[in-house]
Amino acid sequence: MAKINVTMTVNGEEVSGLAEPRTLLVHFIRETLNLTGTHIGCETSHCGACTIDLDGVSVKSCTRFAVQAEGAQIRTIEGMAEANGTLHQLQESFRQMHGLQCGYCTPGMILRAWRLLQENPHPSEDDIRQGIAGNLCRCTGYQNIVKAIQHAAATLNGETIAEAAQ
């Protein structure tokens, strides 16, 4: 099948590559751009392991074609930490609050939480639970993920929060 050149900005850098029209965006990101932090859990839009940020919204990259992302601004998990290695507060809070175990859902979960906090810097627990309902986790039971997002929100807002993970 003929391939098409696709160009997009990923984590602040313009990148391009060849993709068949049917190539999924997640495959393009993982196989062509070699950014393997974006994971595949179902390929049917249910699990959210492939969640990225695309033009200001959370997107499940298994349900977009690469060619649909022509010209898009994309952020993946590899673009969360600072260039000097300093973790983003969400990454730090997931670690502090034990918001991950096997780590497979984590990149998608963090990207989704990041967009959630962009839209709502002071989310309630219910806002968070509703906000991450498109991302499945099989290990944590979500309780410490919710705490991690609360912790990150509070820290980013300059508030202090008691240690949640016992």
Partner: protein
């Protein structure tokens, strides 16, 4: 001492040893997407494999035509059973003593069974190839219901077993029979039932479900023809066992097989077994001379690799009128699917289901299990539980509630009356286990106090009266569960896999500058071993956990181990780690004595150093000692500071817990809302309380899913229903209840650090707690037992049957 001398507390804190809520070292890479999972590995010239699967559940295959697929641009090879026969791999042995087809050989026995393996230069080309492989089927009658499998006129599923009246576990009574397994004293038990004042008799079904880790099963095989060596990366919970299995079935010498399990995205039992995809990837790599990757998609995962449960348990309890249990009699019909591929220790065809007497002092018991073949996927793995313990715990915990209902007794009171008492440990159960330790009454009383159990029952009474008066449409259930697990398989006297004793192992090397590497025979799939194993070593030898690297999953470097499943890592490998560390400490003590010019017995170990008894300012730290071990060891002593330990556990460990669930159910919609869930766990010594709590949260969430909706269902034609996340219930953050946790600590008396294991307890105890809550809610309306899963539709149907819907 001066002000610059760190206090004992400071020295202890620096170690981050056992009991510390140490943050996980794994998280630094995982939060940045820098973990390395199998699918993240790419090799030059790598090919992609994809499976062609059966549309039918039972059919003869007249012909497989691969010619069109082979012409697809990018397709390099199409492998069928005929290809595999040339290397004698069309069939493979299972862990349960059966054989199974790798690729369909003459017929298919379940929907989505593997028929052909297409290998291509891209994912897309492989998928195109799969579409063009044509199979010509002749449909055969299907058996889905295990209760019909042994009918006289039932179709023959396993023609390969024709004439074989003996299986791996004794006599087969029927062409679809796999085994009959019995334990306990039947005549004494029958006698107890003949004398019983009160009896219950209920069929308790534990439906078929699936572990469904977020990362599916996958592998990457790379065969080097020049060296004759195979490297196999895979999602393996037991990499060494995989290496031995690959060697046995491929005839490649074991030292030329390198098995590597990199980061694994959850296992829950799904990644213990050996699957057709692994064998096909290996053969394809040998045939093509190129690396071949195989990655299951979600539908393949849910419908083919290792289901769990599917146990149908007729449960009878005999008791006195005042509520003392006098006998337990259980018959289990076990649906194993098309091949017996259960991942149990060899001698245990029904796993440790004889833990079914639970936490109670049954004087006599008898258990009989019949395993049967059906047209469903093979598996029968321990989905976040020790082997079949979840099923057993469900039967006894539902059974006790049904008995309490019959007696008109409170279910918690019935349990307290029948518990094995603290002074009875070590306790010999009627079905053959020696329970190592426990303090059940303390745990249950603590849980009841935490939720104000008496207050909840009073509220329930009031609300039931209000319901009867028509003032509310909501019914309230209180589910009590007290489970005893049996984990840590296991002692070599009764546990093996393919003849391999179920020990585990650890090698520790202390480096000259006082840091260390530890390699362990287990494999974390999210449990955080890199964090917790270092904590054990830190406490044992006084090197800070942050200075200890833990490595697992590389069979070339790790000592042989049996892997991670059945909550065996801490009971078995955790012990091996402590014992290896103690060997190092013993040598370090000799070096310290020589350096301090005292007798070894004059030294005492204090956190991170050996010091002269009574003279604490004379000491040598482990860092000092490590340098000397490599720089100038005592005369006559071997240089270096390292140790290996292989630990054969003397007994299993028996974690336990008291769970209480409070639920409100709307009878007009069947919607159940968990108001409160309290889980008290006793896993013995606690290595990292933060990780324990996380494990409990996760296990409870899986228990919630299984009991309240998750199911792999089949229609009458054997079509698998619910094989995608559209239909298979995985709760989101919205449905998942809030979890409250508590603990007691009853250390295992035979484990070097007293730890028992915890990861699976919440799944074992959680399911009966939820189901008991649902059933308790309906009990006052005349209901005895409602089968799981308790989704809204089924609960509404139950309410309708009881005549209480609006």
């Amino acid at each position: 001492m001066n002000d610059m001398t760190p206090t004992r507390e400071a020295r202890e804190a620096r170690l981050e040893g056992m009991g510390c809520k140490r943050k996980r070292v794994e998280d630094v890479r995982f939060t940045q997407g820098r973990g390395t999972y199998v699918d993240d590995i790419k090799l030059p010239a790598m090919l992609y494999g994809d499976m062609v699967r059966s549309s039918y559940a039972h059919a003869r295959i007249r012909k497989i035509d691969t010619s069109k697929a082979e012409k697809v641009p990018g397709v390099v090879a199409v492998i069928t059973a005929e290809t595999l026969k040339t290397v004698n791999l069309a069939w493979m042995p299972t862990l349960a003593g059966d054989v199974q087809m790798v690729l369909a050989d003459g017929k298919v026995l379940f929907q989505n069974q593997e028929i052909a393996f297409v290998v291509a230069t891209s994912l897309q080309a492989a998928a195109d190839g799969v579409e063009l492989v044509e199979a010509d089927y002749e449909e055969l009658p299907v058996i889905v219901d295990p209760f019909k499998a042994m009918a006289a006129d039932a179709p023959v599923l396993r023609e390969d077993l024709a004439g074989k009246t003996e299986g791996a576990h004794g006599k087969r009574d029927h062409h679809n029979h796999i085994f009959k397994w019995q334990v306990g004293d039947k005549s004494l038990t029958d006698e107890a039932f003949n004398r019983a004042e009160v009896k219950i008799d209920e069929l308790l079904s534990y439906h078929r479900t699936h572990p469904s880790p977020l990362e599916t099963c996958q592998c990457l095989a790379s065969f080097d023809k020049i060296k004759g060596e195979l490297t196999l990366w895979g999602t393996f919970q037991a990499p060494h066992v995989i290496r031995t299995v690959v060697s046995l079935i491929s005839k490649l010498p074991e030292h030329k097989i390198h098995v590597i399990a990199p980061d694994v995205g959850g296992g829950f039992g799904n990644k213990v077994g050996a699957y057709a995809g692994y064998v096909c990837a290996v053969v394809a790599s040998i045939v093509t001379g190129r690396p071949v990757k195989w990655v299951e998609d979600r539908m393949e995962n849910l419908s083919t690799t290792s289901f769990a449960r599917d146990y149908h348990m007729r449960t009878e309890i005999a008791a006195t009128r005042d509520g003392k249990v006098t006998g337990l009699r259980v018959h289990i019909l076990a649906d194993h699917g098309a091949f017996d591929a259960c991942a149990d220790p060899s001698k245990w065809p029904a796993g440790f289901s004889n833990i079914i007497t639970g936490s109670y002092d049954f004087p006599v018991a008898h258990l009989c299990v019949d395993g049967v073949y059906t047209n469903k996927a093979p598996g029968g793995v321990a989905y976040r539980c020790s082997f079949r313990v979840t099923e057993a715990a469900y039967a006894i915990e539902r059974g006790m509630d049904i008995l309490a209902q019959k007696l008109g007794m409170d279910p918690a009171e019935l349990r307290l009356k029948n518990f094995i008492r603290r002074e009875q440990f070590p306790y010999q159960s009627a079905l053959g286990w020696e329970y190592d330790s426990g303090d059940y009454a303390t745990a249950l009383n603590k849980a009841m106090a935490a939720v104000d159990y008496a207050g909840l029952r009073a509220e329930q009474k009031t609300r039931r009266e209000a319901f009867k008066r028509g003032e509310t449409r909501s019914i309230m259930g209180i589910g009590v569960c007290f489970f005893t697990e049996i984990v840590g398989a296991g002692p070599s006297k009764n546990c093996d896999i393919l003849g391999l004793a179920m020990f585990d192992s650890c090698e520790i090397r202390i480096h000259p500058t006082g840091s260390a590497i530890a390699r362990v025979g287990t494999k974390s799939t999210g449990q955080g071993h890199e964090t917790t194993w270092a904590q054990i070593i830190a406490s044992e030898i006084g090197i800070a956990a942050s200075d200890i690297m833990v490595e697992e999953g590389n069979t070339d470097t790790a000592p042989y181990g049996l892997g991670t499943y059945g909550s065996r890592s801490t009971p078995v490998a955790g012990a091996a780690i402590a014992m290896a560390a103690r060997k190092i400490r013993a040598k370090a003590q000799m070096i310290a004595a020589w350096l301090l010019e005292v007798h070894e017995d004059d030294l005492t170990f204090d956190i991170d150093r050996f010091q002269v008894k009574g003279v604490p300012e004379r000491f040598k730290t482990m860092t000092d000692i490590a340098w000397v071990a490599y720089h100038a060891p005592p005369p006559g002593m071997e240089p270096g500071l390292e140790a290996v330990s292989y630990y054969d556990p003397p007994n299993m460990t028996y974690p336990f817990g008291a769970y209480i669930c409070v639920m409100d159910i709307d009878v007009d919609t069947g919607v159940a809302k968990t108001r409160r869930f309290y889980a008290l766990d006793d896993c013995g010594t606690r290595i990292n309380p933060m990780i324990i709590e996380g494990q409990v949260h996760g296990g409870l969430t899986e228990a919630f899913a299984i009991s309240m909706g998750q199911e792999i269902r089949y229609d009458d034609m054997g079509n698998v229903m619910g094989a995608s996340f559209m239909d298979f219930f995985l709760p989101t953050a919205v449905e998942t209840p809030h979890w409250e946790t508590g603990h007691t600590v009853t250390p295992s008396p035979h484990h070097p650090i007293g730890a028992k294991g915890v990861g699976e307890s919440p799944n074992v105890g959680g399911v009966p707690a939820f189901s008991n809550a649902v059933n308790d809610a309906f009990s006052f309306l005349g209901s005895t037992h409602i089968q799981m899963p308790h989704d809204a539709w089924r609960l509404w149907k139950a309410a309708e049957k009881l005549g209480v819907t609006g």
